[in-house]
Symmetry: C2
Subunit: 528 residues, 2 copies
């Protein structure tokens, strides 16, 4: 059977789904023993020992059956298969989409540019691992023969957000496990104060800089590279003894002798999907050692394999994706809040914000034709319990309903804790997320309407024992696959980002002083 | 004339405003010489040398006149006057709202609890200043008589987000100006890994902890206090020689001898409005010296005074507020993205997220009666240019329109820069924000719809020369006053937060193991 790339509204299963409103009154289904039963049953396994619990979503068996029908009619699993077998899925840029191959082999061998791509990515990973080990062993050193102590990633967008979020997610875990090798820092913004502040805060003499740009032409990154090279020279250091590159083989950086080494990615890995390639691999392997990075990849690979599961109730990524479509297109919700109850995941919402909004924030289908339904939602979030003392007021009692994605773990990473008022901090953290789910779903009546909670505010939670490298890889790939399935469902190309181009063009015009009208006046007001 | 607290939809000027749709086609009004003229004219002065430019908002003189009529009929300036003259504005909690008095005297003397409140706050500020100077001079030391080198704020919500955002906003500026006194760190989350990681990263022996809790009963904060005290004792240190408190005079912390000093706030200063009280004052005065904190207060005080201006075109806070109401209630937009082109403002969006969403994310009016219009939007954001390489795709080409709030400065804070391809990094930063405004407003046609930009996406920009303490105080107070005016416009009580209570109650029940149904199963799954 061939694959039919078709707009959602042309599928009867989609239109049926969109008609299924007011199917579930959360307050009712989540009450009493039925509610308990629902929490026990509405759970799908995830990789890395996690589980996706969707009891507090506005779905029931009828809705899930409708989601399954839609998954089937829209051929979502077949499209995934086409993707990992190397079909040209990125229609806008005419590219394959191969980020899953950086962590495993899901289907047939994919041969492109004359090479087996799985072997290519695995080879790069082995090169990165070897390099990192030599740095840790003091075999690769700075110009004075001294060990590097800090890795500094220079990149923006996907070369920054994902790797930074992953680093922060594992930093304390690695320290607690005795696996921490090197501190990492990140320079991303073209704001000169970003690079200055990072450089002022490190020991430049023992810093290894990782320049990350697929094209080798990203203006912010090249500017920050020049900034760093200036600082190295000012300190009497040779930049070429302090810098490696992660780039594509065709980039101007690839063959330059200005870098100690170059590690390759390619056009088949989008920036926001690149945490498991050398883009994340170099900095994470340097920070925590290649073995930790391998465990992270193993979690992601397991998640990718699970996403092939035909039964939607056992396929967390597919289920999460389609519940999101139901919330967006049937229930009309415009945003999702990502709320990890784990300080280590402090920047995970910022990564998901890019992943989701840059992939599916689109108004044309994969053929560049207009569509007549809403697509990707706003994604935002902060860690709990912090968010509870901030924007949760609106989530509980505001005039719009915003679906919530919680994440929670039984165990902390560091393991240091105190018992206050009969419970540990980790127990308080878990108690809070459990309480929030039920508060949002069930609400509370009160004669004073100011103290009344309507409830009916849907959430899901991903639960695990501890945020380990495997669990983190699972989380990362879960959301990558969720976003991919949603893109398929909406018939989008989730792998280009034409929406970022116009700003670049106009900024260049400003810098060349080739402006008129409003742009000229804004430039003047900003002192350019 | 008495003040009439009345729902928006009962005012003819509001209903007229809501009817004014499709009034302005941004693409047209922002084109050519008319666009240039618009950028020159649609600007309102702000304190601290800033300006609020609203040329790229979907307003024209007719809309602004309608906003002015609404401001007048809704008596927004009279309500502001009532607030600063000490009327009981926080109807839910029956409290005055006096945060403006922490930085100046706007109207009549306010006498409450038997004291002149301006004198009270000014007195606390003087006490904080004296304490900070003694710490800097080595007159107040740790138990061993050594100088403190790090200040660590323990607080959550408003005791964390605002002060943290302000600290980060001025850290590099203070270093560049030679005014940096002490590093500051923040512990907020009840996640034990948050406190552990901060403690692992500092020299505890020379750390001064600032415990911030108005009530003295915030569970997260007391838990983290115990965590820190344990760590101090383990290091052989006396916690009472390392800790000060910022709290209310009636709190259990106020008279405790477990603190070196206690500085007071009161019930008339909401957490999210407390950055200019001792809540922000202690940590900022320790970090940068009391003179810098005073300059910050002066910027805020000037902004408060400007917010009294009757002409809406000269009153940036009022104008910004009402354009927001127009966007929310007439144009139907559900979110606003805050996009500072300044790495120093990296956490300013998180502060605004609390300020706005916790103040106006409500579905009942100030009397606890239901309302029939939407209120506060979602607030989210990240610094540019980082956001450009992340979620801007959706902002440009997504299916929903999201109004944007830019912030930009001509000069960096540190002043270190490089010239690459004919421009400095700071110029590139400014060029990008100018370009984005025009790209969002005007779009670009293209036969390939994937590369087409519809435009018509509204934004405003706050422009300044440099992010100084005065400019930061101005920014902070501008948004406080904007949110206040919006609350008045929607007839809300912007100063309580009943929406956070239910979660607290249920979490306590979990920790006491007094749960059944869904809550019991979630607790079990989370290992509690």
């Amino acid at each position: 059977m061939g694959i039919n790339w078709i707009n959602s509204t042309e599928l009867s299963s989609f239109n049926k789904l969109v008609g299924l409103k007011d199917q579930v009154v959360l307050k009712e289904v989540m009450s009493g023993e039925n509610g308990a039963e629902r929490v026990r049953n509405y759970s799908a396994p995830m990789a890395g020992g996690l589980a996706y619990n969707y009891a507090a979503k506005q779905v029931d068996d009828a809705v899930i059956d409708a989601l399954a029908d839609f998954a089937s009619e829209a051929q979502l699993l077949e499209k995934y298969e086409a993707l990992y077998n190397g079909e040209m899925i990125n229609t806008g840029e005419k590219r394959l989409v191969l980020h899953q191959l950086t962590r495993g082999q899901l289907g047939e061998d994919v041969i492109a540019d004359g090479v087996n791509k799985r072997e290519f990515y695995a080879g790069v990973q082995a090169d990165v691992a070897e390099f990192a080990k030599k740095v840790h062993a003091g075999e690769i050193t700075n110009g004075a023969g001294e060990k590097f102590t800090t890795a500094v990633q220079i990149g923006i967008g996907g070369s920054d957000l994902g790797p930074r979020a992953m680093y922060l997610a594992l930093e304390n875990w690695a320290k607690a496990e005795g696996l921490f090798k090197m501190r990492a820092e990140f320079i991303s913004n073209v704001d000169p104060d970003d690079a200055s502040a990072v450089l002022n805060g490190i020991d430049v003499e023992h810093a290894l800089f990782i320049l990350v740009s697929k094209s080798g032409t990203t203006l912010e990154t090249l500017t920050n590279e020049a900034f760093v090279k200036n600082a190295l020279k000012s300190a009497g250091l040779d930049p070429s003894k302090h810098m490696i590159a992660v780039t594509s083989q065709t980039s101007p950086l690839a063959a330059s002798d200005e870098y100690m080494a170059a590690f390759f990615m390619d056009d088949y890995i989008g920036g926001r999907y690149s945490s498991t390639s050398a883009v994340g691999g170099a900095v994470l392997s340097l920070a925590f050692g290649p073995e930790v990075f391998e465990r992270f990849l193993a979690g992601a690979a397991e998640a990718d394999a699970l996403a092939k599961t035909p039964d939607i109730r056992q396929n967390a990524a597919l289920l999460d994706a389609l519940i999101g479509v139901y919330e967006r297109n049937a229930l009309g919700y415009g945003a999702t809040a990502v709320l990890p109850y784990s300080q280590a995941l402090s920047r995970f919402p910022a990564h998901l914000q890019q992943l989701d909004m840059e992939s599916n924030g689109k108004s044309v289908n994969r053929f560049g034709e207009p569509i007549d339904y809403v697509t990707g939602p706003i994604i935002f979030g902060e860690p709990g319990t912090n968010g509870q003392h901030s924007f949760y007021q609106l989530l509980h009692q505001g005039t719009d309903i915003i679906p919530l994605q919680f994440v929670g773990f039984s165990d902390s990473q560091i393991g240091n804790d105190v018992d206050i008022q009969g419970s540990t901090s980790q127990q308080k953290l878990g108690a809070n997320v459990a309480a929030q789910i039920v508060a949002f779903a069930c609400g509370k009546d009160d004669e004073n309407l100011n103290k009344k909670f309507d409830g009916g505010r849907p959430s899901s939670i991903i639960i695990g024992k501890q945020l380990t490298p495997e669990a983190l890889g699972s989380l990362l790939a879960h959301f990558e696959n969720k976003v991919m399935f949603q893109g398929f469902a909406w018939n989008l190309n989730s792998f280009d980002q034409e929406g970022v181009q116009l700003g670049k063009v106009l900024a260049k015009r400003v810098l060349a002083h080739e402006t008129d009208g409003a742009l000229a006046v804004y430039s003047e007001l900003l002192g350019i």
